[in-house]
Amino acid sequence: MRQDFDDLLTKGRAGDKRAVARLISTIEQGGEESRSLLTQLWPHTGQARIFGITGPPGAGKSTLTNALTKCWRASGLRVGIIAVDPTSPFTGGAILGDRVRMGDLTLDKGVFIRSMGTRGQLGGLSPASAGAVHVLDACGYDLILLETVGVGQSEVAVMETADLVLVLNVPGLGDDVQAIKAGILEIGDLFAVNKADRPGADRTANELRAMLELGEEEKRSLPVLLVSASQGTGIEELCAALDTQYQYLDESGELAKRRSLRLRSELLTLVREGIEQHLLQPLLDSPTFQQSLQQFQARKESPYLWAAEFVTQIKIGGSGCELHES
């Protein structure tokens, strides 16, 4: 198995999209193989810049991603794009449609695009998108763009993987700025109002600025730019602003702080997953647990005491399941 990954990694670094695609699929599959792959990747990561782009539906995120990517390609950077769309909680299916607006990039050897569903990532499981970022990073993509709709928790969680987050808005989506959830405003490092040719763009930008000032505790005001992704106006300026912002984060030590926090949270997630899998799952599966539940329900036992005993058992090295078995 290990051999396989070496080979794919070598090919991926040489720009073989099929190899990169296979590696990401391995991550998406999860489980032991995914872990072993990530372990192998690890020493090669930490090189890429990771930018997140988010905003309300219809803001033009894919069109902007397309335009920004062309800008970076012109300066010779290899760009990896991960476009995340929500998975239906009812069917588990998803329609991933971001490629529609990125047709120009498809045949560019220096651009890799992958569409991903959020799948069932609630409940603390680490998003596969984070793993996919590691793959692209290890395969030598200089810049990785994570794009997702800014609604819902799992989408915001995706943005936690980024070094820097660009929040995109657009005039005329009903209550303008209100369309951006407060939670997204907080994670933004940079703001852009797309479709600047439309009436109301300036107003939307001003409202954004006002709202940002309200919540502003930092020393430095966050930039709000006007762009038109479909007409290509303001794109170079936005590219430059992203650069500046990134440099600022880097020089101020903020970037290192974020990356360290990210590592911490990634690690915690892994540990949490492990605990769930190895300690909680056997408990849930054990017949005694079912019996205890009945006892609680009949008010014959206290769940509080039971839980405390469970944790104590784990502390002294048991699995917790032997509880009440004697």
Partner: protein
Amino acid sequence: MNGKTQWESELVAKALAKSPERRSSFETTSGIPVERLYTPEDYTGSYEDQLGYPGQYPFTRGIQPTMYRGRFWTMRQYAGFATAEESNKRYRYLLDQGQTGLSIAFDLPTQIGYDSDDPMAHGEVGKVGVAIDSLADMEILFQGIPLDKVSSSMTINAPAAVLLAFYIAAAEKQGVPASALKGTIQNDILKEYAARGTYIFPPAPSMRLITNIFEFCSQNVPKWNTISISGYHIREAGSTAAQEIAFTLADGIAYVEAALEAGMDVDDFAGRLSFFFNAHNNLLEEVAKYRAARRLWAKIMKERFHAKKDRSMMLRFHTQTGGSTLTAQQPDNNIVRVAIQTLAAVLGGTQSLHTNSRDEALALPTEDSVRIALRTQQIVAYESGVADTIDPLAGSYYVERMTDELQAAAEEYIAKIDEMGGAVKAVEQGYIQREIAESSYQYQRQVESGDQIVVGVNKFTIEEPPVKGLMHIDASVAENQIKKLQAMKAGRDNVLVRQRLDALRTAAEGDSNLMPLILDCARVYCTEGEICGELRKVFGEYRPMEVL
């Protein structure tokens, strides 16, 4: 207790107790509930205000005072395939068979502004229509067909200005002045974004080209219908009847507004606007649809745009029977569907009609199939008697009620689109596409659950052998077309061509009317791909807002 209530509580209740109805509730394709029985109580509108007289506001009953008693609708079969030579033969055949107008189908490269030798055209040349690369092809297409006598309808949208220019130039070669030309260009870009997909440029420059055509034609080609605002493709993409009216008229509103903004007077162009609707199987809902559309458009033109001339308020329309209602299974059944749809269009007061051929769910129609389709119209016209009195279904409690309901449903959609800032915005935001996709998926699910029966598809099926003798477009068509194109390019004055193209590009960067410049290009045999290529340089290309 009134009569109907009494009837329901006694007779109906007794019958229901014995055996229930086929389903617990009935509704039209637009989701409008259908009652068991309609009586005078269900229709309370004022005759004079709501219905009136044919040829008079609000035109509910028809746009001409004599309708089909004067002259039948124009029987206009959409046709075109392979090369200009082949299509010319088919047109002459159709005219010999008693068809009264031509309707030109172009192949996809022509519809999207690519020459036949463009790599994007590979595999598509001559497939769904005729390949026209330049004036040279247009001359062949109408060889022996007098353009001052025959009216031509051209299904062309994004590059409508270019094909119209080819047509005008071809007429000049026949010695026919532009002022004598009669016909229609579809020229309806908004429904391309929303439903049909053959767009080239973004909305703003596309709307400019459209108003350029309005202006040019009002001065130079006065008998030309400068646009055919189309609900047909919206319906084909899966909309309901109510959505078909709503989205079509919302597009119409956007075109009128664009022309007004360009400084035109409403009565100078509104009379040349025409419409294009679908005809599906729900006969009475369809009849009500045409009547509702006519009444609603008249109201919009009068109240919103303050049109003065009657003609500006008249909704004149072409109809095509519903392609998506045709089944690949038991294709002869399609003849019956088309007959019902023909009745719907005629009872609804259409100005012209295309009837689909039975084999179109399988391939382009054969000559035999096209003849049956045309005969269907002729049978309805000459044998059925429905064309002998005007708007014969008026006064039917059900049809009048349905007309009101459809109008109300359409008005509700239009209000929503107005709120978004009009049809252009609604398309850019994907609203219209989303509504259509939703209806289309609903319908598909109804068919799959058996809620909606399609005869021969999900009920009354049989084992059947593959249909033989379908029409095939040979690969040699493309090769010949490309050879012809290259020979033409070698023989023309290429210095002049370059000059005219440069002039067009410069003009496109400004804001003058582009139509005269495109015509200048056409006259010296610039190709469609060259002309659209210059415009692409200035205007860019449209990227869809894909919605699922």
